[in-house]
């Protein structure tokens, strides 16, 4: 039936990006533009004794210097309002902004920063999240009780988000167990590392400001700006030129208000461009460092009867999305397994580190890596094959999720079997090689979405959306949906996007939500235009609209394709007659699945996983036992995304997710020295490169969701990054007989584990 969907479609922004025509925020230049620089604290915890900017203000060529005294005193934050634009009285992490400067050149702005006189009284940093939870531990936020927070967030001292899942009777479960297996796993903080650093350009005209920003979420960025600078939404326009990647690091609101305030004070456009060090130290969306402990009871036949997990997420100096991510983490600690009895607890702990937040599939890879190693350890204890043990416990249609949701038709089991088949599970391997499996699940994020479409007089169409293209291709793919509905070639659909003055509110490129939500809005808006075209064509062809279809640029009779009228002719006639053919779609969000509700605490955004995607990765590695170097030779991936609409796009997301996951597995981790990052640069924060990429095999399982996105699809952007590190860890264990319990699994850690040391 489908004529466009499923086709291998080259996205519209591809050519400009690969040929260098695309312009990014840091490329933009306005007449009279000034350059911004920030003075960062440079120490993880301190009391500000003195902050004197007079010498910086006096430097010729400096047009504005701002501190917290120069902006409204407003606390903000996505989950807990624990933050101000500039440091206020205390410093809580090294990247905290003390002052901002706008000057004629970047060099002058730099010099002005160095002229600012600062006296900081250093305080011992809070760095151990377990110690930070002890009674009487020093508080990162002494005034935490005065902060407001989203409804339902349970806080206590350094814990800014306690979440649990209570299901069945955990003690009875353990009592019925033949074996009890325990394990503890620790993951270091890592980073999203988009190639493009943060950049913001602001220009005022009268009382209105336009901000070009590298945000992944233009509307939340606008909200942050209007709130902190106390402006009406109508006074702020946020535009994103092309975005050079985000991986979650550019979610929410960052430096838009600092730059807008500088531009207002200086009465000139001002541009800020971060360097790589700032990108590591002064942003607030790192991937959480975690400590995960598990205790699981199983029967000899492999049935899980009790599952207990405790998670500690080091969320750094500010909560950002931390509490919500802990909530996700508790679901990930359950995994896609049947659990009659379960107790999972998660804590979101403040520390004096760079804040952690919504990096691609936040908490997913780390918790999956920990849980799936634990699952392998259970299978080993029982002497069961690891595939077989998973198959005995994995969820299927009719089973109950951790918080009580009932699964409809899902592809968890099928994805696992696909990954195992593609890697050749069980085949003999040369010495030094090992294979590992990991399964997982991830939610789709139902939310508000709207879209307008107008038909142009030549029969092409323009989609106007508030959605944000972060590079994944999800906005580009909206053209496919409109094209499918309107019977047009996708190349005939243009897109206006990532401009808060043009599109309807959108929560941005986060939570794998774009196709899921905006896609449904595109279908709804297209349907209105299609209906109008069908009626016009029905008049002309003297037919019943129900007997007509829109195909390849014409409306034609289904049973007599020769009877047709060209869509462009209808569009032209409408315009000549003064009719605007437009569509507007804002369908209701799919409902959240039912959940247990009362027996769980701290459930704010994800009481259950809506339209969950299921997946499994299998990895084959070769471990050099003498050096600890791990080479990943092959990764096989089985994914159920409900329905795959744009294969080239989804394959790209899976391949990219695997490579991203390999970095998390083997080389990406932040090292702290006395509370400061010791490797805030790409020389010592090691990303994987093309030369490290293994052979990849990918299979999709089709299981359209009733309460899903367009055509039963589910979110795609985040799931692929979740299980790779876990599969690699299990493969390392299979190759060596030793578990590496610290992420990333660097050569030194693998070597130490092999030497019997606790890495």
């Amino acid at each position: 039936m489908s004529r466009v969907l499923g086709r291998r479609f080259v996205r519209a922004d591809g050519l400009p990006k690969v040929t260098g025509q695309a312009r990014y925020a840091a490329d933009l230049v306005l007449p009279g533009m000034l350059h911004a620089a920030f003075l960062h604290a440079g120490v993880p915890r301190a009391r500000i004794r003195r902050l004197d900017v007079s010498a910086a203000r006096a430097l010729p060529g400096v047009l504005a210097v701002l501190t917290q005294d120069d902006v409204p005193f407003v606390r903000f934050g996505a989950a807990v309002e624990d933050r101000t634009l500039f440091a206020h009285e205390v410093v809580r992490f090294e990247g905290e902004i003390l002052a901002a400067v706008a000057a004629l050149t970047p060099e002058l702005a730099d010099r002005a920063c160095r002229l600012i006189e600062v006296e900081l009284e250093a305080l011992p940093p809070v760095l151990d999240p377990e110690a930070a939870l002890a009674p009487g531990a020093p508080l990162v936020h002494e005034d935490w009780q005065d902060y407001s927070a989203n409804d339902g967030i349970v806080r206590d001292g350094n814990d800014c988000g306690f979440v649990n899942i209570v299901k069945g009777d955990i003690e009875a479960g353990f009592a019925a167990a033949d074996e009890i297996v325990e394990g503890r796993y620790v993951a270091d903080m890592s980073h999203p590392v988009p190639i493009e650093p943060h950049a913001v350009l602001a220009q005022w005209e009268g009382d209105r400001v336009t901000v070009w920003s590298t945000t992944q979420t233009p509307f939340p960025a606008r909200n942050g700006l209007t709130r902190t600078l106390e402006l009406p939404e109508s006074a702020v326009r946020v535009v994103v030129p092309h975005l050079g990647g985000g991986f979650g690091g550019k979610c929410e609101f960052h430096f838009e208000a600092h730059v807008a305030a500088l531009a207002r004070a200086a009465r000139r456009p001002v541009r800020l461009v971060f360097d790589r060090r700032q990108e590591f130290t002064a942003t607030d969306m790192a991937r959480h460092g975690i400590i995960a402990t598990f205790r699981t009871g199983v029967r000899r036949d492999g049935t899980i009867v009790a599952h207990e997990a405790s998670l500690i997420l080091d969320t750094g100096a500010y909560a950002t999305h931390g509490p919500v991510i802990t909530e996700i983490a508790t679901m990930m600690a359950a995994g896609p397994y049947r659990h009659p009895n379960m107790l999972v607890e998660g804590r979101t702990v403040y520390s004096n580190r760079t804040p952690a937040g919504s990096t691609r599939a936040p908490s997913g890879p780390q918790v999956c890596w920990a849980l799936e190693q634990h699952v392998d350890a259970i299978a080993e204890r029982l002497g069961l094959d690891k595939l077989e043990f998973r198959l005995r416990n994995i969820v299927a249609e009719g089973d109950e999720g951790p918080t009580g949701q009932r699964f409809e038709k899902i592809g968890a089991r099928e994805s696992l079997l696909e990954a195992a088949r593609l890697i050749g599970w069980g085949r003999p391997l040369p010495p030094g090689d090992g294979m590992g499996l990991a399964v997982g699940w991830w939610f789709s994020a139902p939310g508000p979405a709207g879209c307008y479409i107008k038909l142009n007089a030549d029969g092409s169409a323009t989609v106007v959306t508030g959605a944000q293209e972060n590079g994944s291709g999800s906005v580009m793919g909206l053209a496919l949906l409109a094209a499918e509905e309107l019977g047009l070639a996708p190349e005939r659909i243009s897109l206006v996007y990532q401009d808060t003055d043009a599109g309807a509110f959108d929560s941005g490129s986060s939570g794998s939500q774009t196709t899921f939500n905006v896609g449904r809005a595109v279908l709804a808006a297209s349907a209105q235009i299609r209906d109008r075209l069908l009626r016009m064509a029905a008049d002309e062809l003297e037919a019943n609209p129900l007997d007509l279809e829109l195909v390849e640029g014409v409306v034609r009779a289904k049973d007599a394709p020769g009877r047709s009228v060209v869509i462009a002719a209808l569009a032209r006639r409408a315009q000549d007659d003064g009719e605007l053919i437009t569509g507007q779609g804002n369908p209701p969000a799919p409902k959240m699945p039912d959940s247990l509700g009362g027996s769980c605490a701290g459930r704010v955004a994800f009481p259950a996983f809506a339209a969950p995607a299921f997946f499994a990765h299998a990895a084959r590695v070769r471990v050099d036992r003498e050096t600890g170097v791990v080479r990943v030779l092959e990764v096989a991936a089985g994914h159920e995304f409900g329905r795959v609409l744009n294969p080239i796009g989804v394959e790209g997301q899976v391949e990219g997710g695997i490579v991203h996951g390999l970095g998390i597995a083997l080389s990406e981790g932040t090292v702290f020295r006395d509370g400061n990052q010791a490797n805030p640069h790409l020389l010592d924060y090691k990303l994987q490169t093309a030369a490290d990429v293994p052979a990849m095999k990918i299979a999709f399982v089709d299981a359209p969701a009733a309460d899903g996105g367009p055509y039963g699809s589910k979110g795609v952007g985040e799931p692929p990054v979740v299980p790779t590190a876990a599969a690699v860890a299990n493969a390392i264990a299979a190759a060596t007989g030793v578990r590496v319990r610290h992420l990333p699994m660097t050569p030194v850690r693998v070597w130490a584990a092999l030497a019997g040391e606790d890495a």
Partner: protein, 291 residues
């Protein structure tokens, strides 16, 4: 991340370059590929007043065999060396080292002269040239001297080059029959600087014993060095696994690594032994095949 002000000159001849260096002795620096120098300037770890770009100086990038030695122009890039037919035919150690430096961009622009003059303890070339018992040709106005590679690398970023000199050529003796070389490099990830690198050049005698051997070590001391004690242990011995292990242990005793992001000292010392054994094994296999 912004370098201080500096002057820039791009002379067309070597003499002109040497004159510039002499006229602003101490504050002028040679610029080759710039991959090492420019980052240092951005971090303000180097603040030269004048950059003398030798990119236009003719004749500095030749690769040829003359008088029983391979002569590599200082401005030859890692990539040009790795892909050169002479190197491919007779100098496996050089080919292996050149082909493993950084990534294609680094190899297409970074130069052997820049690497050796820069003397980063983690640069691959210094260990290789020492293992091969090569030498460097240094030119200043009116003077040319040939300096042995062993003894040339003095400390972190410090060599025997005078500020008024340009390194013009790297020379290594042409290896004979029954010789073989290998460079093994332990990396955290493809294209990384070495955690430990070992260059080995083995010359077998007609009796199958090790007649001569060169061992150079990367990234495990303030300056890349030749592992003399290990060489002494090997000379005259049969190339056995036990001997290689003994040599590896001797090399580790001479190494002085420091803890950094690549790993702690005990790891690095163990890796010196492991990598030395592997380099010797590979070089010996190649020597045996090169009968």
């Amino acid at each position: 991340m912004i370098p201080p002000r500096f002057d820039y000159a791009r002379p067309a001849s070597l003499d002109e370059a040497l004159q510039l260096l002499a006229s602003r002795e101490g504050e002028a620096k040679v610029l080759a590929g710039g991959f090492s120098l420019l980052p240092l300037m951005k971090y303000r770890l180097a603040q030269p007043g004048l950059l003398v770009d030798i990119g236009r100086v003719a004749g500095l990038d030749a690769i040829e065999e003359v008088d029983g030695e391979l002569r590599i122009g200082a401005r030859a890039t890692h990539g040009a060396i790795a892909g050169h037919p002479l190197v491919a035919a007779r100098y496996p150690l050089i080919r292996e080292a050149a082909g493993g430096i950084g990534d294609p961009q680094i190899r297409n622009w970074g130069t052997i002269g820049g690497s050796c003059a820069h003397a980063d303890p983690a640069s691959d070339w210094p260990a290789v040239i020492q293992a091969l018992r090569g030498s460097f040709v240094c030119r200043s106005l009116g003077r040319e001297r040939v300096v042995a590679a062993r003894g040339f690398f003095l400390d972190v970023f410090t060599t025997g080059i005078e500020p008024t000199e340009v390194l013009t050529q790297v020379r290594v003796p042409r290896p004979g029959p029954r010789s073989g070389g290998a460079y093994v490099k332990l990396e955290r990830r493809t294209g990384d600087f070495a955690t430990v690198g070992v260059a080995a050049q083995v010359q077998l005698g007609a009796d199958g014993r090790i007649a001569e051997v060169g061992l150079g070590l990367t990234a495990v001391a303030d300056a890349p060095f030749a592992a003399g004690d290990a060489e002494d242990a090997l000379r005259g011995a049969l190339p056995t696994a036990e001997k290689f292990r003994e040599a590896g242990l001797a090399a580790a005793r001479q190494a002085r690594p420091t803890e950094d992001r690549h790993g702690p000292v005990d790891y690095k010392l163990t890796m010196v032994r492991v990598m030395t054994e592997r380099a010797l094994r590979l070089a010996t296999e190649r020597a045996q095949a090169n009968g």
